[in-house]
């Protein structure tokens, strides 16, 4: 197909108002318009299905009918850029964040960010977490140490009780009114086989983001303490090491190399 034909075909695929693309030749006597609309419908329904599969908690929160309308609007504007359907909807959270009329469920965009991160974590590269013994062997200039985090690690920050809402809508916790509407940051990771979602302690998000950005342990702890006065380094190291989030230690000599 020429580029122009492809563009016309793609446009007709997304917009029912356009009818079938020109020069569509039927292989049998049937009307191509009708058969094309079946194909168009299948494309839309399957992409909506891909979103429903990837964002089950968001779907549960607003209900199937509402979610499907949201998905339909997204699908019409965002054709897939890859045949890998598990990654379809990577920018669905941005779409949800800008969608009108969601004021009462303003946390919905963050839920979709968390769910998108879970899928990415699930398909992220495998890596062996460092055992605690690797840290016990560390001595000397601890403050200059840099850490390589597991490829699956993502931090999702939120101004809402994100982890509680997600847990209630993914079968991890019982559904009910949320008395404490304080912000929660989430950690998503898959150190081994299972994807975990954890609520980060105060300053934990800043700590992890700094470490992931290549900051030294001391700098990362400093930035976390600056953001949250209650930042507890021991608690965060327990999460970091016990949670299997570190895959390599870069000592000061190597870490300072460009």
């Amino acid at each position: 197909m020429s580029a122009a034909t492809e563009t016309a075909f793609g446009a007709a695929l997304r917009d029912p108002g356009r009818g079938a693309p020109a020069h569509l030749a039927p292989s049998s006597g049937r009307r191509p318009e009708r058969r094309f609309s079946v194909y168009r419908n299948n494309v839309a329904v399957s992409l909506m299905g891909a979103l429903a599969t990837r964002f089950p908690a968001a779907r549960r929160i607003v209900g199937e009918a509402f979610f499907d309308e949201l998905a339909r609007a997204y699908v019409a504007q965002h054709p897939p850029r890859s045949p890998l359907m598990m990654m379809y909807g990577d920018d669905f959270p941005e779409f949800v964040a800008q969608a009108p009329g969601l004021d009462e469920v303003s946390y919905l965009a963050d839920i979709t960010r968390l769910e998108a991160a879970r899928t990415r974590a699930y398909h992220a590269a495998d890596a062996d977490p460092l055992p605690a013994s690797a840290f016990a062997a560390l001595d000397g200039a601890l403050d200059e140490v840099r850490l390589a985090l597991h490829p699956s690690v993502e931090v999702v920050r939120s101004g809402h009780p994100l982890v509680t809402i997600w847990a209630m809508n993914s079968g991890e916790a019982e559904l009910g009114p949320i008395a404490d509407w304080s912000p929660q940051d989430a950690l998503v990771c898959r150190p081994e086989l299972d994807v975990f979602v954890r609520r980060l302690p105060d300053g934990g998000a800043a700590f992890l983001v700094a470490l992931a950005g290549g900051a030294t342990l001391a700098d990362a702890a400093g930035r976390a303490a600056q953001e949250a006065r209650s930042f507890d380094l021991t608690e965060n190291l327990i999460g970091l090491i016990g949670g299997g989030l570190v895959v390599a230690i870069r000592p000061s000599q190597q870490g300072d190399a460009p």
Partner: protein, 93 residues
């Protein structure tokens, strides 16, 4: 803080953390396990076949415009939020 103080603080925290982590002895969890399609996170188990293989769309014409007719009837009405009960009104896009 001077570098030596930072280092000492880090070393103290690390020691405390390690004593707790190794007490939980989380290390050989993976012994005898392999990654396979049988082991997956909740809600991802059906991804091997992949969404998009369905033919459900052939039975009805689903793709119609952008009018949002739906009202949210999900769990948002159960979780009380500072902004209300999440009983969304129909909206248009």
């Amino acid at each position: 803080m001077p570098a030596r103080t930072v280092n000492a603080a880090l070393a103290g925290s690390l020691l405390a953390a390690l004593s707790i982590v190794s007490a939980s002895a989380a290390e050989d969890k993976m012994a005898g396990k392999e990654k396979c399609y049988g082991v997956a996170m909740k809600g991802q188990n059906d991804c091997a076949a992949g969404p998009g293989t369905t033919c459900a769309g052939t039975s009805k014409v689903d793709y119609q415009g952008n009018a949002w007719k739906a009202v949210a009837k999900g769990t948002c009405t159960t979780m009380k939020t500072p902004k209300g009960m999440g009983s969304l009104e129909p909206i248009k896009m």
